[in-house]
């Protein structure tokens, strides 16, 4: 986890907000550093994490996690981390007998996919089985990333329904949190991607948007991060949503954030 990002978000592993949906979004740049941040953050906060990793292999996340001070292997062994490795298990779906339900079973379906098996997988992973599970703090669902599902032929509404059910179970019933990454392709013709991004934005409590600089690649400033706090259902209309923008530079083991135009290389 990146301490500077914790300061910006006003969180720490000791005080974790519960029942929230955090949307990570990237446009024109790679926002996966945010995924690594939240993965290590919640593991350090002693939460039970279900990680649906569709983009990279387990060892990739493990290597990056070790740089940030967490070991995914030992977390998985002690039961704190439930890891669905999309790249490996998608092959299993094809080679397995059809009758057995599989979280990525939509890959076999000819028509528009239904993500109910994936939701059942998440629910079983995060629901407390017996009093043994009380050792962990709140459950967390982490998805990297949802745009891959669009690319695999699942409709935007099906993905929204999946997150809807996850919210109902993880955020409302279990008082946990969800963090999901979505790509903003910036392509005006990609309606499904827009519907997914906007639909999720309306349900989110926190939106972190990593954007590339409008002026192009820069060695010292890798991009811009926009943070939007919102409450989908404020009890009173008084509270105003807050929005902040920072620029960042990704280093080997950390990410440094600074106000726009205040990069140390420039000053």
């Amino acid at each position: 986890m990146f301490p500077e990002l914790n300061n910006l978000l006003n969180t720490s592993p000791d005080s974790v907000e519960q029942g929230t949906l955090t949307l990570l979004c990237d446009a024109g740049t790679d926002g996966s550093f945010l995924v690594h941040h939240f993965l290590s953050f919640y593991l350090k906060a002693n939460c039970k994490v279900c990680f649906v990793a569709l983009v990279q292999s387990f060892s990739h996340y493990n290597v990056v996690g070790q740089k940030l001070g967490v070991s995914l292997t030992s977390a998985r062994e002690r039961g704190q981390l439930v890891f669905l490795e999309g790249l490996k298990s998608s092959v299993d779906v094809v080679l397995r007998a059809e009758a057995e339900p599989h979280p990525l079973g939509f890959l076999r379906e000819a028509g528009a996919g239904n993500l109910q098996p994936l939701y059942e997988f998440v629910r079983e992973a995060l629901e407390p089985v017996d009093c043994r599970e009380a050792a962990w703090r709140s459950p967390v669902l982490l998805v990297d990333d949802l745009s891959v599902l669009l690319g695999l032929g699942v409709g935007a509404v099906a993905v929204l329904d999946f997150i809807h059910y996850c919210r109902a179970t993880v955020c409302c019933s279990l008082q946990g949190s969800i963090v999901a990454l979505v790509h903003d392709s910036g392509d005006a013709e990609d309606e499904e991607s827009d519907v997914l991004l906007n639909g999720l934005s309306h349900q989110s409590h926190l939106i972190l948007r990593a954007e590339g600089l409008a002026t192009g690649f820069c060695r010292d400033v890798h991009g811009q991060l926009r943070i939007l706090w919102r409450r989908p259902s404020p009890p009173t209309a008084a509270r105003r949503d807050r929005s902040l923008t920072f620029q960042y530079k990704i280093q080997d083991k950390s990410v440094s954030f600074f106000a726009r135009g205040m990069s140390p290389a420039v000053l």
């Binding site: 519907v195 309306h202 349900q203 259902s233 009890p235 209309a237």
Partner: protein, 298 residues
């Protein structure tokens, strides 16, 4: 409001709320009253940056305080989250139809509402009880994503016209349908259709720290009760007598090509004079007796 409402000819009014600090509470109540003034469908269009659920809840609170029964179709937030902020008297008047926990019947425990989203909507169309009623749809966007647009529009129409006499196309004053719509999720087609159905449309936007609501009212057009006869009250006579009407009807127009005319042109009958050209050459004319069109084989 500080600025007087601008009236655009077709019976629409556009009002923007004033930003005076001291009168903010009175203005807000006036605004809520004015939004609920016309019956029928009220569309609340919000965006990611300016959410509209708080306005929806404020309108629900206003309706409940007036003693109306309130039905909420909740698709996007849980019942606890929705009821947050309402005191117990309002909560007792609020009936929450829960489409959040299990809208697609994935849990198969039998707890899901029968018929799914469409069944619940249609059940609301049947009379919910005497007296004024407010139906809040949270949200219309969720319904539009899961049901065909035509079905949603037909059901909305049925909802806001319940209890009216057949053939009467104006909605009853005491039924309010409040629909929350997320502006970025739908294309111009569904948005335009819903705008046409709505009596009142509130669009939420704002600058840095100040939210603002743009309210559009659609008042029904006055229908004319009788046809105006254009030929009366003129200084000249446009009426036709019976003989003139007959002559007019039997007239063949010169450029209308009927079969009789075709025959008349093709077969020159007896007694019809052939045409003849009288030509007087003057001094400068070159009269060539040889016909230049002689080689044409007609």
């Amino acid at each position: 409001m500080n600025s007087p409402p601008l009236s655009l000819g077709a019976g629409q009014q556009v009002m923007t709320p004033s930003k005076g600090v001291g009168e903010r509470k009175i203005r807000r109540l006036e605004m809520l009253e004015s939004v609920l003034a016309l019956g029928g469908l009220v569309l609340l269009r919000d965006s990611v940056e300016w959410e509209g659920r708080s306005l929806l809840k404020a309108l629900i609170k206003k309706s409940a305080l007036r003693g109306e029964q309130v039905h909420v179709l909740g698709c996007e937030v849980s019942e606890e989250e929705f009821r947050e902020g309402f005191d117990s008297s309002i909560n007792s008047q609020l009936v929450y139809h829960d489409l959040f926990r299990d809208p697609l019947n994935w849990s198969k425990t039998g707890e899901a509402l029968p018929g799914g989203p469409l069944g619940v909507l249609r059940a609301m169309c049947s009379r919910t009880g005497p007296g004024p009623v407010t139906i809040a749809l949270d949200s219309l966007s969720w319904l539009l994503l899961h049901l065909p647009c035509t079905t949603v529009c037909q059901t909305l129409h049925a909802l806001s016209h319940q209890d009216s006499r057949p053939g009467d196309s104006s909605p009853v004053e005491h039924v309010h349908v409040l629909g929350l719509l997320h502006g970025e999720l739908h294309g111009p087609g569904p948005m335009g259709t819903l705008s046409a159905l709505a009596r009142t449309e509130v669009t939420l936007s704002g600058t840095r720290s100040q939210a603002s609501a743009h309210i559009l009212y659609r008042r029904p057009q006055q229908r004319p009760t009788h046809e105006v006869d254009p030929t009366t009250h003129l200084t000249f006579n446009l009426h036709l007598s019976k003989k003139e009407k007959e002559a007019k009807d039997s007239l063949t127009l010169p450029f209308q090509f009927s079969s009789e005319k075709q025959q008349a042109l093709l077969c020159r009958g007896l007694g019809q004079a052939t045409s003849h050209i009288f030509y007087e050459p003057d001094a400068y004319d070159d009269l060539d007796q040889e016909d230049p069109d002689d080689d044409l084989d007609i």
